[in-house]
């Protein structure tokens, strides 16, 4: 999100707040989230994909809602009205095209109307068929689960994505050279995880059906669409339906949080981005001393960038009377890696804990009873961290980044188990413990910072070159 986009959000939210004062919150969030989904979608070099990506997002949301909602709760008046409003907004955006250059909802002209109408007809027929009976919904949910993961894998795999992009371009007759960075599907990483969470909750019987407008608002909630946090649907639903005042979510708290976020993102992070390490700088830098500085700058920059966006999302939500979960809690003051991951991108970590780490752990404990606890810890921690790495992109550098943290977590866990009793027995004076604490913070920070090499640099050879230069071997 650019500064101007954030300023526009803020203005709209303040106007809403002044005029409606939390009333019609559901409707406001629902309508704005759909418009913003199209508006934030960047232009893509090949034809109409700036239109198709948000449209596919909405289709996936509708599909998942139909799958997780019992038939009796689908055909309610309220949901039909919501669907009609959704179609009206969708058709307005489509028919408007991009008439006003200043307020470009779509970046390019939309596809032909006849094609869209045909697709709409097919989609609604499909949704209708899926809604007719609840009998096969569990089967549908597994199919949808696999479909969503499949799309996610394709979107996050540079090789797959480029092949599909080239294929799409050959159909439309385009010739422009496609770069992977130019293919951006706004909010898809977060959308996929929100939908996966709902599907899994449905499969395990934890999901309580909600209306379409609230469901859709949760999936593409506009302040959190680009950088999270990943809320849980039951929590979000409580927040969006609550129109009470004085819940500690007022305009002043929200504005203060937004100001902090803007400062973190646009002053600190954007300034540091000039000197932060990337593939080009890694090769250009002439000394290891400077490379360390570029790497530390990156570490601080990525924190302020991400944390800044989260502050802005939480702040805007506060102005709307919605409390979003916190995503960061002073991660760089963590004394070990476990603490770091309890403080960094907390909603993503919690997601993986709930939907991968814990079930995976349970699976091993039930099926492989003889497995040693250490080996189990090793397998679950490393695989969880590798998956978190892959969430950022399916490429070798993110796998290495995941391994770096997975192994780090395991070693730290073993070391802590070994050293903690010894330290406890020694009854060290408080100043020595303080020194040890600061040393631990420093070591954790350096370990995390060095690990960012694999996050910032997607080329393995360059990553190895950086390591070589950093440690002088």
């Amino acid at each position: 999100m650019s500064f101007n986009q954030i300023a526009i959000f803020l203005a709209i939210v303040i106007i809403y707040r002044i005029i409606f004062n939390y009333r019609y919150k559901k409707q406001f969030v629902f309508i704005l989230s759909i418009i913003v989904l199209y508006w934030l979608q960047p232009n893509i070099i090949f034809r109409n994909w700036d239109y198709w990506f948000p449209s596919i997002s909405i289709f996936l949301i509708l599909l998942s809602w139909v799958i997780v909602t019992p038939k009796s709760k689908i055909f309610l008046k309220h949901n039909i009205a919501t669907l009609l409003i959704l179609i009206s907004i969708f058709m307005t955006i489509t028919m408007m095209g991009n008439p006003f250059k200043e307020v470009l909802i779509l970046k390019t002209s939309p596809p032909q109307l006849s094609l869209i109408l045909k697709l709409l007809f097919i989609i609604f027929l499909l949704l209708l068929i899926l809604s007719i009976t609840d009998k096969f919904k569990l089967v549908y949910s597994y199919i949808f689960f696999i479909l969503l993961i499949g799309i996610f894998i394709i979107y996050k795999s540079p090789t797959f994505l480029l092949k599909i992009a080239s294929w799409s371009q050959s159909i439309s007759g385009g010739t422009a050279h496609i770069k992977i960075d130019e293919i951006r599907w706004i909010g898809f990483s977060y959308l996929a995880f929100r939908l996966l969470h709902i599907i899994r909750d449905k499969q395990t019987g934890r999901y309580l059906p909600i209306d379409l407008d609230r469901f859709l608002s949760f999936a593409i909630y506009f302040p959190a669409i680009t950088a999270g946090p990943i809320d849980r649907i039951e929590h979000f639903d409580q927040e969006i339906t609550n129109e009470e005042k004085d819940r500690g979510t007022d305009l002043i708290i929200g504005l203060r949080r937004i100001m902090i976020g803007l400062f973190n993102k646009f002053v600190i992070a954007d300034s540091l981005s000039i000197i932060s390490v990337n593939t080009i700088i890694a090769l250009q830098s002439t000394s290891s001393y400077w490379l360390w500085i570029h790497l530390f700058a990156y570490s601080i920059q990525i924190y302020f960038d991400f944390c800044g966006y989260t502050d802005i999302a939480i702040g805007i939500s506060n102005c709307l009377g919605i409390k979003l979960p916190e995503n960061f809690n002073k991660p760089f003051s963590a004394q070990n890696l476990t603490q770091f991951w309890n403080r960094w991108h907390m909603t993503l970590t919690q997601w993986f804990r709930s939907y991968f780490f814990n079930p995976f752990n349970r699976f091993f404990k039930i099926n492989y009873k003889k497995i040693s606890p250490q080996l189990l810890l090793f397998i679950t921690q490393v695989s969880t961290m590798v998956l978190i790495g892959l969430w950022h992109g399916i490429s070798i550098n993110f796998i290495i980044w995941g391994l770096w943290h997975g192994l780090g977590l395991f070693i730290q866990n073993r070391w802590s188990s070994f050293i903690q009793p010894i330290i406890d027995d020694l009854h060290l004076p408080s100043n020595v413990l303080n020194i040890m604490r600061y040393l631990s913070i420093f070591i954790t920070f350096v370990y995390v910072t060095v690990g960012w090499t694999w996050f910032a640099i997607n080329d393995i050879n360059t990553g190895l070159h950086v390591f070589q230069k950093l440690f002088g071997f």
Binding site: D246, D250, I274, Q284, W290
Partner: protein
């Protein structure tokens, strides 16, 4: 009434008061800071620099059109620009003979890394004077064509105690209309006023300048300059780390070799180049007022052999105008007793890059071998 009905009662009176007081206090503080900042306008805050402290100074003045790639940027704060240079903190020892190169983009070195600029290549030879002083050449070129801009740089550079100035000129730096069009001149009106008074130049140079009003001295008015100052420091770290201060893409548009059938130079047509509309007064006043040797050099230009090259030497110059200019310059130096070398046709057409004055490293090497002879004639060199 509207706000009262909604904000006051809906957010509670205490919160409304807090909001109102915060906004009023913020506005007051912002206003006071802006007023105080106007008092800083003439304070050289640009001299506060991390260069030569946290990281080494630059080899040439900051200039860059693509900061993300060149780790360099164009700014207007002269104090900051000079503070970022290596020479700014370079102690001049008794055994140093300091030469400054003044001129346009060809001296600064567009499409050349620092080792390949004129100063870089001369320094490579590690010359000493015959009495044993080490020759150190500093690049003080800046990529715009204006003698006034050159004068501004010379004036500032005097504090570096140069022993010799080599001033590279070309016809495009001479037209009066060009003198104030360089952004670092236009955006430093106080400096222009100071120079016009110091060197007793024509009032013409004051006609187009606008002295800053109250608004442009405030933080809001100076926000671009402040932003540039901070970026200059950040790019300093990148310069120190990479030694890159220019984006040098592999491909570039070569200088034009074929021209329209056009014999105009600015708004002038043959037969006569109006001498009184060329800024010879700047050359005269500068050379007379400086207490150190200056060598004037008419820098090499691309001499095209393409279409209509019988009319024009290159994109800048029709033959008639350039030939007359050379005559004027020769007469001027003869009259004023200046040391002058006309190297206009020294470099082969092939050795020019993206402009009629920007040379390849080979072209610069050719110029440098001549420059070394010229310096030798003046101060006696040994290797």
């Amino acid at each position: 009434m509207f706000f009262k009905n909604y904000l006051v009662f809906e957010i509670s009176m205490s919160q409304y008061r807090f909001l109102r007081n915060t906004i009023l206090k913020a506005l007051f503080i912002f206003l006071v800071l802006n007023i105080l900042f106007t008092k800083l306008y003439n304070y050289p805050y640009g001299k506060i620099s991390l260069y030569n402290i946290l990281f080494e100074g630059r080899d040439r003045l900051p200039f860059g059109e693509n900061p993300n790639k060149s780790y360099n940027l164009t700014l207007n704060n002269l104090d900051a620009m000079f503070s970022s240079l290596k020479i700014n903190k370079a102690q001049k020892n008794d055994d140093e003979f300091r030469i400054l190169l003044i001129g346009d983009s060809s001296v600064w070195g567009i499409r050349l890394d620092n080792q390949n600029t004129i100063s870089g290549q001369i320094n490579e030879h590690s010359f000493t004077t015959c009495d044993g002083k080490k020759i150190k050449v500093y690049n003080m070129g800046y990529p715009t064509l204006s003698l006034f801009k050159d004068m501004m740089i010379i004036n500032r550079s005097l504090s570096y105690s140069p022993d010799l100035i080599l001033w590279f000129v070309t016809l495009e730096s001479f037209p009066m209309v060009n003198q104030l069009s360089s952004p670092i001149v236009t955006n430093n009106p106080t400096e222009v006023q100071l120079l016009v008074n110091k060197y007793k130049l024509k009032n013409y140079y004051l006609s187009d300048i606008t002295l800053p009003d109250f608004y442009s001295k405030t933080i809001i008015g100076q926000r671009r300059n402040i932003h540039d100052l901070i970026r200059l420091q950040l790019y300093g770290a990148m310069w120190a780390s990479t030694k890159i201060d220019q984006d040098l893409p592999q491909t570039f548009s070569p200088a034009l070799r074929d021209f329209e059938e056009d014999d105009s130079f600015h708004d002038w047509r043959p037969p006569l180049l109006p001498k009184d509309e060329l800024a010879f007064d700047i050359l005269e006043k500068m050379s007379k007022s400086l207490d150190l040797p200056i060598i004037l050099i008419n820098e090499p230009i691309l001499i095209s052999h393409g279409e209509n090259s019988h009319i024009r030497y290159n994109y800048y110059y029709p033959r008639w105008a350039y030939d007359q200019y050379r005559g004027y310059l020769q007469n001027f130096v003869n009259k004023n007793g200046l040391k002058y070398y006309d190297l206009w046709n020294l470099v082969n057409e092939k050795e020019f890059t993206n402009s009629a004055i920007h040379m390849t490293p080979k072209g610069v090497a050719k110029l440098c071998s001549n420059m070394i002879e010229i310096i030798n004639e003046t101060i006696c060199l040994k290797k």
